[in-house]
Assembly symmetry: C2
Homo-oligomer: 237 residues x 2
């Protein structure tokens, strides 16, 4: 989908019915054209669109069917400003490191511009979704054993992917980010999270100003190993 | 989709073209009817079906676009038998605990039967996919800080969800599991994994013997908190 940005005509979001109709798009097309869309229009995202997308996202599986999610939906300007200030502090620390690593690589530096735009306009983004999950002995956001940690994130990220695909289908821009909530204690304080409700990532959402895919990925033959690591019969080279 | 299990007529899997055609199903239908399907037919899953599904799954995002996946695809009977023995040991330890916790809850005990079937028939399942990701300073499967751990799993589980949705669309049964690979050192030994390539979960795949959804989830109003934890304007009660 190409979204034209014509500065002379104001953007009118689709009605909820129009937007949700698009969830019937062929699944393969949604997956093939999914990509991080970081440049977002400031117009609000109606609850009549957002809530059905969140609802659909929860059709994803959870470990032992625990369904221990909390979705923090942040729209309040003051709350967004607090999150924006937190992100800006982190961005100013981490971005120079990333930029230095990309030095001389024009393509990579160009790819970083939408991220820069977002860091500077964070508080103007219409809505953030911060998926959280309940921590307990079987589901741990940090530490060990590995599989209790895997079970924790495996109960959240499948739903996150549903949400990202849902956004793509209806024409909303979205992306999966962890850096803005890197400093968990501050996030907990801003959102009044109980100690056992852990934020996992943050998804800025708004009507897309940028474009969707297609995207480029590593050839499948390089990724697949048959029966033993190193046995790659589908690799072409 | 209802799959009839008629013992008198042998099961003939769809051709690859027929199966892949189904990836065009409306996205919302795939999501709404996704569920863990654990009873699987023993007939093999053709590479012409599996590889395009794996390829499509990789359209999901990864942290900083690292794309550091390795997919271990296990079909060899001896390798499957090794994984099956490992799982059986873990299942015999963990299942009595789970059963004791479910005691008296008939529904929950009934829900556990497909899992029991699978533990007993693990080595007969046609194919396993074990998604792995490369561990480094920014992407950690265990330990701290939380967001490096989140970035690790956030680079794998979105692709896993694409794979589960893809399986659902073409008519393959699949489920997301962590218990069978709980003991990571044994898994690494069986699969010859390098130390920095970490298994995340295991997805047993075969033509579906069981049924797909719909599934029941918590009401969205209970899951969503607006701006602050505890503020639940969409809850109905």
């Amino acid at each position: 989908m190409t979204i034209t940005t014509d500065a002379t005509t104001p953007f009118v979001p689709p009605t909820a019915a129009e937007a949700l109709e698009r969830l019937g798009m062929p699944m393969i097309d949604a997956m093939r054209t999914q990509r991080a869309v970081r440049r977002l229009k400031p117009e609000p995202v109606a609850h009549d669109v957002l809530l059905p997308l969140l609802e659909l996202s929860l059709k994803a599986p959870t470990s032992s069917n625990t369904q221990d999610w909390s979705y923090l939906v942040v729209e309040d300007p003051e709350q967004k400003a607090r999150l924006g200030r937190l992100y800006w502090k982190l961005y100013r620390v981490f971005n120079p490191i990333v930029e230095r690593m990309a030095k001389g690589n024009e393509q990579e530096l160009r790819n970083m511009r939408p991220g820069q735009w977002q860091a500077e306009h964070f508080a103007e983004i219409p809505v953030f979704v911060i998926p959280c999950y309940r921590r307990n002995l079987k589901h741990k956001p940090v530490g060990r054993p590995q599989l209790s940690v895997s079970a924790f994130y495996g109960s959240v990220y499948p739903a996150v992917q549903n949400l990202l695909l849902g956004c793509r289908a209806v024409g909303l821009g979205a992306s999966l980010q962890t850096l803005p909530i890197w400093w968990v204690p501050s996030v907990r304080k801003i959102l009044d999270l109980p100690r056992d409700v852990r934020p996992v990532c943050i998804i800025p959402i708004g009507w897309a100003q940028g474009n969707y895919g297609p995207t480029v990925r590593r050839p499948i033959g390089e990724v697949v190993h048959l029966d033993h690591f190193g046995n790659q019969p589908f690799a072409t080279t």
